[in-house]
């Protein structure tokens, strides 16, 4: 057996060959082939435990790794190289360790011992390699094991080791903050060093120590502030030093790091802040700002001034620097100025407001990074007094902005408008402008909110519908505009045609009934619009068919054209609406009555409820599908009410059939097929099924199929009448709108679904939450055949003597649970227990039998116009839920 020689020339010649071969590849497939071949050879060498070519192979592997191929099989080779004796092997071994491994890998534990030996090595360059690797990849375990070595090396004779040890210590204390106190004393002595490398790393270590340890912060604040101020002063006044000079400034890096440390020391401490005022003023006024290095220092200095305790004069200086930055022609400087103004706004909003015009210009910059920063800043700058001009500017810009910026811009404008709008008409005007310009970028909740506002502004209905009609003529391709417009035309079509409620500011417009139908028809016919929009347009037509008797025939024709539509939703609507128009003239007008006013407070409450990610609410789901495109849960009983009072008494089987026919409830195929469904006991069951309140389709009524059901396969129940309700409204309100005895009856069901008989009371009720002001009780029931699911009825009682308004209940559960909240019965809770609010929850426990239910709750309400927030965790659920 021959001994091979370690020839390092050979190593990289061969590695070069591989790189050349890879670079010569013309296609990705060729490259893969070369890499595969190389990897196979390397694996073979690894299996033979080849020592001579180990470093060459590792070098190749690193290159292959950089190209994005897997190289895990080479990890052990790094460890072997690190464990070998020579410097060249260790050097490449440590590089491989840093490139191929990261701290998550188990293999890393094996290297701790080698690192320990190398940290104690007699060759300082080997010590340096070990420190560098440790500083880059050290895990918490390694930090604990090796901290004493690193701490000792902070006092090593050679400064180049001390500086590496200092940076390595940063990693250690970030991984294990408990170790911080061991490093306080050695760090204090590093701060006194003259060597720039040691000083700069010492300052960084000190900054990090102060971040992780209050004790360290106190210590350095007391002992080192003055020394650091002196160091900075010496540095600022130092004569030309070629080794550290950048653009005429001695060591800007050290400047910046000292300023950063002073920021940490001065923050929240008046004395420390005071002692650094002079030097900060000097840096702020004396630093040259014609080169990047100088600006970097000024930027750091401004940040320090903004962070430390208030000194009026310095703040003015800092704001002036930012003003200069903002008008700089260099985009980098403008970017950092915007960045810093965002922080300054909390300190001195007035000063930032002065630069409003310039900032607004930056929103229109050609540079996306600057635009984004500026928009964020403008958003923070808007208040009641400037909302109108700022919004105008932003909307004007919306017309000309880049497509990819429109999304951000639209979201911010909508947010500003809804947050700060001084009056409803302004809000509606602005939203209409946004919808006309960027209707495709508007989020669902934004236009839902708009509809809620419109619905509440009864004096503006005519104005709004006319404005929308005009907007639609020019911007018919903007999806959300079309949706809002067809909704309003459907609701307020008569106001459009008769110019009711004309405001002085309006231009008179003459719209005939057939014009109104035209524009809705265009929306249905336009291919680019999506299904939701078309479905909404269908409902608008149905409503118009009753509002405009003269157009009824034409609408019937339009609607019936879609009887053969391949889009199931449209086909279904077409057939159902056609049936309403043809067969049920007597109830049509009642059916398509104007929507009751949508309750703003509930909508806002629901939106707030839907915000936290872990909270699941039905409102989120049904708001997204407001128009009955998919099935919103448990809300839309409303439209049935008129029906049942008009034609047939609800709890009769004939009534059930009738309803079914009208609603096109698609429960029938499943019941036909299975044939084993329980026969409903009484009419209420039928109704319940029809309304699909918490009952699966399989339990549906076995009544005879009608012509409608044939078109409906096994799709989830969609009752088209739900669609009349755009954003879902509350059963309570609906009751007040419909007002018949049956109404209350149905309404009662909405709030309290009847409990299944079999195990309805198997679980005791609990007091889930009680404070001095509020009590919440939970009643439990289980739907039959579904042990994972628990129905909870929450009852809230007001224990205080004040009424609560804006009452919102939110709940969050861990991942193994699914939570579904129905709307609360009311958002006001009368004082002293004179009435309760109830709310139904449905919890599905995926770990049923293993884990019990837990829940966090948050209850918000207003008492005497003051916001009150109560929070709690519920752990006392009965076992086995």
């Amino acid at each position: 057996m021959a001994l091979h020689s370690v020839n390092l020339n050979e190593l990289f010649t061969y590695c070069w060959d591989m790189i050349r071969a890879i670079r010569a590849c013309k296609t990705a497939a060729e490259e893969r082939a070369v890499v595969r071949k190389e990897c196979a050879a390397i694996r073979a060498a690894i299996n033979e435990n080849d020592q001579d070519y180990r470093h060459r192979n590792l070098a190749k592997l690193m290159f292959i790794h950089m190209l994005g191929y897997p190289t895990h099989f080479g990890q052990m080779e790094c460890l072997k190289l690190i464990a070998s004796a020579g410097f060249p092997e260790k050097r490449i071994g440590y590089l491989g360790l840093m490139l191929l491994l990261d701290e998550r890998q188990e293999v890393l534990m094996l290297v701790t011992n080698s690192l320990k030996q190398d940290l104690n090595h007699s060759n300082q360059y080997i010590v340096g390699l070990a420190l560098c690797a440790l500083g880059n990849i050290c895990s918490a375990e390694m930090a604990r094991d090796l901290a004493p070595e690193v701490e000792r090396l902070l006092q090593f004779r050679d400064p180049n080791i001390r500086k590496k040890a200092a940076l390595c210590s940063i990693r250690i204390i970030r991984k294990v903050p408990d170790l911080a106190e061991n490093f306080i004393n050695p760090t204090a002595s590093l701060l006194k060093e003259k060597h720039h490398g040691v000083l700069i790393t010492g300052v960084q270590l000190c900054t990090d120590l102060c971040k992780v340890s209050e004790e360290a912060l106190e210590y350095f604040r007391k002992k080192s502030t003055d020394g650091l101020v002196k160091t900075l002063r010496d540095l600022v006044n130092s004569p030309y030093a070629p080794e550290y000079d950048i653009a005429g400034i001695t060591d800007p890096f050290l400047h910046i790091r000292l300023l950063k440390l002073l920021r940490v020391l001065g923050q929240g401490d008046a004395d420390a802040s005071d002692s650094m005022n002079d030097i900060l003023a000097q840096v702020a006024t004396k630093t040259e700002s014609n080169k990047n290095a100088g600006n970097a220092i000024l930027y750091a200095c401004v940040e320090t001034i903004m962070s430390i305790e208030d000194n009026g004069g310095l703040r003015v200086l800092a704001i002036n620097i930012l003003g200069r930055f903002l008008s700089n022609r260099d985009n980098n400087i403008r970017y950092v100025a915007l960045n810093m103004l965002m922080k300054a706004i909390t300190v001195d909003a007035q000063a930032v407001q002065r630069h409003r015009a310039t900032i607004l210009e930056c929103v229109k910059d050609s540079d996306a990074s600057i635009r984004k920063r500026a928009l964020e800043l403008v958003y923070l700058l808007v208040n009641e007094s400037n909302v109108k001009p700022l919004t105008k500017e932003l909307i004007d810009y919306l017309e000309v902005s880049d497509q990819e910026f429109k999304g951000d811009l639209t979201a911010k404008i909508c947010s500003i408008v809804s947050k700060l709008s001084p009056e409803k008409i302004w809000y509606i005007d602005q939203m209409l402008k946004v919808l006309s310009e960027a209707g495709n970028f508007v989020k669902d909740e934004v236009w839902h909110a708009l509809i809620v506002v419109i619905s509440n502004a009864s004096d503006l209905h005519g104005y709004t519908v006319r404005a929308l009609y005009r907007a639609l003529q020019t911007s018919a391709e903007q999806e959300c505009l079309v949706r809002v417009a067809v909704w309003c035309i459907g609701e307020y079509g008569d106001l459009l045609v008769n110019s009711v409620g004309m405001l002085d500011i309006e231009d008179p417009v003459t719209v005939t009934e057939s014009d109104a139908v035209d524009i809705v028809e265009i929306a249905i016919r336009r291919d680019t619009l999506d299904l939701t929009t078309k479905a909404m347009a269908f409902i608008a037509l149905l409503k118009l068919s009753s509002r405009f008797p003269s157009c009824s025939e034409r609408i019937k024709d339009i609607v019936s054209q879609y009887r053969g539509s391949l889009v199931l939703e449209l086909q279904q609507r077409s057939i159902e609406f056609n049936s309403i128009i043809l067969k049920h003239q007597n109830i049509r007008s009642a059916l398509v009555e104007r929507m009751p006013v949508l309750d703003e407070a509930t909508f806002i409450g629901k939106r707030a409820g839907a915000m936290p990610t872990s909270v699941s609410t039905p409102s989120a789901a049904s708001i997204n599908l407001p128009n009955g495109i998919a099935k919103p849960s448990a809300v839309p009983l409303v439209d049935l009410l008129d029906l049942s009072s008009d034609d047939a008494p609800a709890p009769s089987s004939s009534g059930g059939d009738f309803l079914q026919d009208l609603l096109g409830v698609d429960l029938l195929p499943s019941s036909n097929q299975s044939g084993i469904n329980p026969v409903p006991q009484n009419g209420t069951d039928v109704l319940l099924d029809l309304l699909s309140i918490g009952t699966p389709p399989a339990q549906s009524s076995p009544s005879t199929p009608d012509i409608l059901s044939s078109s409906q396969d096994n799709k989830t129940p969609v009752s088209p009448l739900e669609g009349l309700l755009s954003p879902p409204s509350q059963p309570k309100q609906a009751a007040s709108a419909g007002a018949a005895p049956v109404v209350d009856f149905l309404d009662g069901f909405a709030a309290n679904p009847p409990k299944p008989e079999d195990n309805g009371s198997a679980y005791p009720s609990i007091v889930a939450f009680e404070s001095s002001a509020l009590k919440m009780e939970f009643n439990f029931s289980k739907p039959p055949g579904n042990p994972q699911t628990t129905l909870i009825q929450a009852t809230f009682t007001n224990l205080s003597s004040n009424n609560y308004s804006d009452f919102v209940f939110q709940a969050a559960v861990p991942k193994f649970l699914q939570l579904h909240l129905d709307p609360a019965s009311s958002n006001t809770l009368p004082a002293s227990g004179n009435g309760v609010v109830t709310q139904n929850l449905k919890v599905t426990n995926s770990q049923h039998g293993k884990k019990s239910i837990v829940m966090r709750v948050r209850i918000a309400y207003k008492m005497n116009n003051k916001d009150v927030l109560e929070e709690g965790q519920i752990n006392n659920f009965p076992r086995g839920l």
Partner: protein, 136 residues
């Protein structure tokens, strides 16, 4: 997230930016500071609160050291000697924190370590000569 995916994503963002725009892009909650030298882009990913202008200076500092080491550095130098580019970086930064503000010191430390490697090489070849003679 793998190295290659980061590169691909960032190239998409950075390469499409025009020449006069600022050198910062916001990316996945971080900022990326980039600087172009001929056809080469140097990028550094930093936290939100880091000083962007200083990072530009650090990148330039690194490029100057590379330039001095390779003698007007070009792309091929860095491809074929990627390990050396890393060694130099390791003398300049550790875990993203600046280690040494003096270009001269970095150059000196790299030279000292390179010569250690050279010495080892010479020793190895002389040993192999001795062995070769002994086994003749």
């Amino acid at each position: 997230m793998c190295f290659e995916k980061v590169i691909r994503e960032l190239s998409g963002v950075i390469l499409t930016r025009g020449p006069k725009l600022c050198n910062f892009v916001e990316w996945r909650g971080y900022k990326v500071v980039y600087k172009r030298y001929a056809s080469l882009y140097f990028c550094m990913c930093i936290d939100q609160e880091d000083n962007e202008l200083e990072v530009l200076e650090i990148i330039h500092h690194y490029v100057e050291i590379l330039d001095r080491y390779f003698g007007s550095v070009c792309e091929l130098d860095l491809i074929f000697n990627f390990h050396k580019a890393y060694y130099i970086l390791d003398e300049l930064l550790i875990a993203g924190e600046l280690q040494e503000p003096s270009k001269k010191t970095v150059a000196r430390l790299i030279a000292a370590q390179d010569s250690l490697v050279e010495t080892a090489k010479e020793e190895a070849s002389s040993i192999s000569n001795i062995i070769a003679q002994a086994t003749k």
